[in-house]
Structures are given as C-alpha cells and as structure tokens.
Symmetry: C2
Subunit: 199 residues, 2 copies
C-alpha cells in the first residue's frame, strides 16, 4: 500500500507522460488533488477530445483534427515549394524561424527497415503522388541529420529526381552563435567539407 | 497559430502540471498523440475519477477516496501515537522509512495568517477533539523545519500540552550519510545545540 487505490492509479497513469518518473508523478497527482482540480478536469476533457479527434492532415500528414491543416489550406503559402520533415514539431520550428513560405510534408518518422518502417509507412508513395500531380517545383529535405534521417533523405532524393523535380537539402554546419571549440567534430568536419567560396 | 486548435489546447492543458513548461507540454502532447493514445485515454479517465472521488479521510484528513483511509482503519496500528504532518507525501515518507506503527494527522498545509490560513483551516480543532476524545498518549510533531512549519508546531504544542498530553518533535540535524562540509550552517548550528550526551 502506498496511497489509496485511486491515488495510486492516478500516479501510475501520469507516468505515461514522457520524462515523468514516480516522484514527479506523485507531485503532479498531489498538486492537482490539493490545489488545482478544475485545471485537472479540463486537462482530462481536452485529453479525451484530442486523443479521439486528432488525426492526420490529408495533404501533409501532420497531426491535426482538421481534414486539411491550417498551413495546407492557407492560399497565401507557396505550393511550389515542399519541405520534407520528420515530425510536427519540426514544422513548428520552421514556422517559428519565420522565413519559409512554402508548404510541408511530414513523414511522421523515418525509414527504419529493422523496425518494419518502409517507404509506405512514412507516406512516401503519397509524397510522390503529390510531387507528380501538383505544381511542386522544389523539394527541400529537412530530415534530421541522423543515420536514419540521412538514409530517408537519400531515398526521397532518388525517387523525386527520377520525376524531374529539383531536390535540395537544408545546410548543416556550425550553428549561429555557437563557439567553434564547443562544436562536435562531426559537425565541424561537415562544415569544412561544405564550405562555400566567399563572393 | 502554432498547431491546430485542439493540439494547442492539449499543450496548454498539460501546463497545469507542476514543472511542465511549454516545451515539455509540447513533447508530452506529441508523445501521446503519436505513440500512446491508449495510455492517454486511461490517464484522462483516472484523472476524472480521482478528481471527482478523492476527498479527505474523516479521521486523519489525508487525501483518500475512502471515508476512512487504509492507515486509520488498520487495527494493527497503535492508536496511542499520533504523528502530525503537513501533507500526504509526508505520510508516504514515514511509511517508506517503515519504523512508525502509530497513526497520522495530516494538516494539509501549515498556519499562514497572511494567507488567511488559521487553525480552523488546517483542522486543528478536529485534531484537538481527537486528542481529547480518544486514547492518544503522545503527539509527535513532524511539520517541516520551515518558519511556518515551526510556528504551526509551536501552536499545536501549546494546545495539546494544555490538554495534558505528551508532545514530542522529531529530531533535526545532520542527515545520515551526509558529509559535514556540505551541510548548511543552519542545520549544523541546530545539530550542535541539539547534541546529546553519549552514554
């Protein structure tokens, strides 16, 4: 016995959240029960609503409760540029940077044959249909600079190029404001090999 | 616009949890939506259940959905010893230490006149009724060693002593396994003034 059965269940339930261990879950449960029942009830409601209603945008596959998400349905966005990212969080990162006016395609993962995740599972067939059917003139690859992300980018490059569409990859190198001595050697080697002539 | 309205609401809702900022809330929302909808739904259900059903134990005031909590209703516990703590988490800490066999009284806070929290609000009237009515022979004060906790302990001491019942306070000092050089000076001064003759 730790607490009463229902409180134990609540503590256990909160542990499904990423980064929440037994101590944090306990603190969260007591916080809600002692001080913030109203907000807790609202959280329960929005959780149920979101988990039953949020699906994927028909165009870009990002998470959305709308059939077509806000970005895809925005007529001011440039439909000729298609930026490929791995997750909805990446879309947010680009939107916060603020300079991209094209549209996105969200893979919701990356190729990982060992886990049974092939091109179909990350919607590449749909991506290629879209490239062929609509007026996409440039596909910008912004998958993560990991082994899986690079492999996914390579696969997409091959497929898109075969359809005669320009493919580009976002630049990787030393981050702005970063100090060289704290940049890892992989990034530094990449930055060196990707150097550009100063005009 | 950040995400779709419902996802925004979910991210916002998760921020009612203590220690969860915008980035963590976003990570939690995506984790649940992408990978763990079932656990999320269970969390929503147990949240609603706990927030509507959990109240306070009639005897010790701890959080419980039962009218009388597991500890108070356990006939093997020594009803002569009553340990006063500030929160249900403190009860758990004692139970995990494992050496206490008496019962508890949970104040659910401490005296704080500036916030309008007087003796009534933390159930001291009920505590005194219990001390007088039942067979309590020792009241053990285990409020936190903070200004408010000490003030609360002092107030209870006065009231309980007036009713002819023994009052004790748990020992404060250098924690076991702690290294002296890392112990704060307040604790060290307290440990020194509270020294006991070695027998």
């Amino acid at each position: 016995m730790k607490f009463s059965p229902l409180i134990d269940q609540l503590v256990q339930g909160l542990r499904c959240l990423p980064g929440v261990g037994p101590k944090s879950a306990q603190r969260m449960a007591f916080h809600l029960l002692e001080r913030n029942r109203e907000a807790g009830m609202q959280l329960a409601e929005v959780l149920q609503l979101a988990l039953t209603q949020v699906g994927h945008c028909r165009e870009c596959h990002t998470l959305s409760e709308l059939d077509i998400c806000g970005i895809c349905s925005d007529t001011r966005r440039d439909q000729h540029m298609l930026c490929i990212v791995e997750s909805p969080g990446d879309v947010l990162a680009f939107e916060q940077a603020g300079s991209y006016r094209g549209v996105y395609f969200v893979l919701m993962g990356h190729l990982s044959p060992i886990d049974g995740i092939g091109p179909e599972e990350i919607g590449i067939n749909h991506l290629l249909e879209r490239v062929q059917a609509s007026a996409v003139s440039e596909v910008i690859l912004a998958t993560n600079p990991t082994v899986e992300g690079e492999a996914t980018a390579y696969y997409i490059t091959e497929q898109v190029k075969a359809r005669g569409v320009l493919v580009s990859r976002i630049a990787h190198g030393v981050p702005l404001g970063g100090e060289l001595e704290f940049v890892d050697s992989g990034t530094l080697a990449h930055a060196l090999s990707g150097r550009r002539a100063v005009e």
